[in-house]
Each structure stands twice: as structure tokens, then as C-alpha cells.
Amino acid sequence: MIWLSSNSLVQHWNRFWYGLGSPTNLAAARIVFGFTSLWVLVSRNFAGMSGLPSEFWSAVPASASWRYFDFGGHPALERGLEWAAGSALVCAIAGVLPRISCFIAGMLLYHLAPLETIIWTPNPYARGLTISVLALLTLAFSPCGDRWALKFAHSRGQAAERGDYTWPLRLIQLFVAQIYFFSGFAKISHSGWRWASASNLRSWLLYFSEEDQVRVFHTLGRWLAERPLLCQVIGVGTLILELGFITVLFSKTARRLLVPLAAVFHLGILLSMNLAFLNVPQLLVFVDWDVAAAWLRRKSTYLFGAAVEGAQF
């Protein structure tokens, strides 16, 4: 009951969003999202989608076009915007005017990303840029350039409060964690607990192993499909992981356990079902980069130290 008192809740709330934060972790989030967004951007042909024959665009609702400012028949303009988005992302990664770069990249990706699917749906979910747009715009309103940025990026007159580094990172972590939670929630609400049944998992594994148009890897999926107990474990384990992943926001132990597990989970899905999840590198926003950098420094000191000693003899 004490824990639930309003004072206590406010304290927990403030500690969660405005506790002591690290400028390094926020800078790492900027670089991680910059790289993943750039990778997806240069891998797609958004301008080409704009240049499709008018029949492809004939069923696009006006509301969707106006919502994203996506209209067919402007491939040259879209090409220019792709270059602008790419340049902004490079600047964001390097830390050149990082907040402005993140803002420009976020706004341009908000416009460009839906071009991939707009001919049949205005919702570009699972295409790799939805979370990036939210994260880049969050970074634009945070002191994300106070570490790992080119010197002249520091235009701030004074150092940010430590809490200023916490809320944006927490928000970005929440964006990533909710992917898993709502994925699990959608399975339960759409299919019920039967989603986790061995027969359902077996059917999906067989489908993605047999359909030759999506079959790149086919050995693991078939192997798993022939083992009902493993299918059951995968089904239940998937729901536990997806619904439980949200705990990484609050628990260091959960973070250490579930974040690597999620990476393995995606690797398993890739190899058994031929489904790629482009947000996987974004799990790096859960890494404590201060600790990682200190560890690397220790290692390099040890290695270089040993080399120097070796050279003296």
C-alpha cells in the first residue's frame, strides 16, 4: 500500500523519466537509429514508387496522401528528398548539428516511409522505419549531441541536466519495447491463447519452409515442425518473451536476459521462417554504453600495454 501511495508513484515516475542519465547512451541511440534508418533508406526505392503508373495510385485514399504528403507522379522530387534524408542521417550519425539533423531526417522519413506500402495500405508497419521516425524526432528534442559528436556540434551554452539525458532514452526504449508487447497482445486478441498451440506453430513453420517464393532457409523450419514439443515450447516462449519484454524498461536483470534472448529469437525466426525484423540493431539502445566503453578501454589498454611491453623486449 505504501508503494501505491501517490507520493511514491510520483517518485517512481520521476526516477523513471528524469533519473540520472548518461549523455553517452543518448548519443549511442542517435548513432544506432541513424545507421539503421540510413540502411533501410538506401535499400528502398521510394522515388520509384512515386513514379509507378497511375493505376497503382488510383485506389490510394486522399486522406492517406494528405496525411503523409505522398502523391504519385513526382519521382524526381522524391529522389531529391531521399538524398536530403540520407544527408541528414549522415549528419545525425556524425553529430553535425545533431538535433536539427535528427529533426529533418525524422520529418523526411515520415513522408518517405509510407511510399513503400501506400498503394495498398497507408500503414508501413514492420518495414523498418516506423520506430525510427519516432526515435529521430524524440532525439531532435534532446541533448543527443553532447557525446560522440563533432566538436562544432556543441553549441549549447551550458551542460544539460543529467535528467535531460534520461527521458529521451527511456522514451526510445519504450518505442522499441512496445513492438514486442503489442505483437504479443495482437496474437492473443486476434487468435486467443490457441496461437501458442503446437499445431499452429507447426503450420506456420511448414508454410514458410514450403512456399518457394519466400524459401531461402528451409532446413530448420521443417526440422522444428516435425517436433511437436519444440513447437509448443516456441509458441509459449514467444508469448512470454513478447508480453514480458516490457520489463526491460524497469529491471536490469530483465534487460540482461531478455535483450540478448530477443536477438536470438529474431535469428531463429529468420532461419526457420524466412522473416526478417529490421529493428534488431535497435536493441542496442538497451546497452549501457558507459560500461561497454570502459570495458573496451580496459581491454585496449591491456592489449596495447602488452604489445608495448613485448616490443621493449
Binding site: 526505392n45 503508373p53 498503394i119 505483437s183 487468435s191 514450403e210 521462417m273 524466412n274 529490421l278
Partner: protein, 148 residues
């Protein structure tokens, strides 16, 4: 993935576009041929809108797709080969949500005769039997394009 697969027949419908050469032979088409469209978006659009279009519009779309597939076929048998959506990244290009095999990676596997038409099939098969048993698959010709 969110849904359950159909429990009884265990058959899932899917589309397939094939190229037809002057001899009437059908050929599979590499997913990269449809750039800027990805295979998922193309099939989703075909399912949702294409089959409801009037015949003239359908033929205009098919003509565009035939042009894309022949252009890709020519590239695939050329020295440079068929590019990934980003030619500099090559196979490191970010994949789409579903992976697709690059069946025109080697010139030997690429049809040398130009396509003169396209066919779109709706296919399904019994998951327990396997897709590799064509006699057990159901294949319905949903649309055929042969330019006049």
C-alpha cells in the same frame, strides 16, 4: 503470423506471376525484377485492387510488369547481372520483411527468350503434403496478359 493457419485443409492461398515466352513456356521471375515494388507489396496490391479493376487498366498494369520483368531478365543475363534494390550494398541491402530467393543470380538459370506475356496464378497447397508436390497443389489462372 498473428493469425492461425486454416485448421482443416491447412492450405494457404498465394499468388504467383510467371512470364510466358514465344513457345508458350512459363518461367519463374526473380523478386528483384519488380523494383521499385517489393513482392509483398505487389501481391498485396494485386489481391486488394488489381482484380477489381476494369480490363483496360489491368492490361496497362500488366504491360508495365511485363516491361519490368523483361528488363530484369536482360540485366540478369548481361555481364553485370541483376542488381539488388541497392546495387552498391548488393546482398547487404536491407531485406523486406519476408525473404525471397534470388533465382536469377546466375545467368544459367535465367530464361533467354523474351517474355511475350504474363500470367497470374492463385495457388494453394496442403501444408502436410508439401509445396514440392505439384500434383497436389491447386493452381487457378486468375489473369493472363497477352499483348495484341
Amino acid at each position: 503470423m498473428v493469425g492461425l493457419t486454416p485448421p482443416a485443409a491447412r492450405s494457404l492461398p498465394t499468388l504467383r506471376i510467371v512470364g510466358v515466352d514465344a513457345n508458350g513456356n512459363e518461367h519463374e521471375i526473380d523478386y528483384r525484377a519488380w523494383n521499385p515494388l517489393s513482392l509483398e507489396e505487389l501481391y498485396a496490391w494485386l489481391n486488394r485492387h488489381f482484380f477489381r479493376m476494369d480490363a483496360v487498366s489491368q492490361d496497362r498494369v500488366a504491360s508495365y510488369l511485363l516491361q519490368l520483368s523483361n528488363h530484369a531478365r536482360e540485366r540478369a543475363i548481361s555481364q553485370g547481372g541483376l542488381h539488388f534494390p541497392n546495387r552498391w550494398l548488393g546482398p547487404l541491402t536491407a531485406p523486406t520483411h519476408m525473404l525471397h530467393p534470388a533465382i536469377w543470380s546466375h545467368a544459367d538459370g535465367v530464361p533467354h527468350n523474351p517474355f511475350i506475356g504474363l500470367r497470374i496464378y492463385q495457388e494453394s497447397w496442403d501444408l502436410e503434403v508439401g509445396a514440392s508436390a505439384p500434383a497436389k497443389s491447386q493452381r487457378v489462372l486468375a489473369y493472363e496478359y497477352v499483348p495484341q
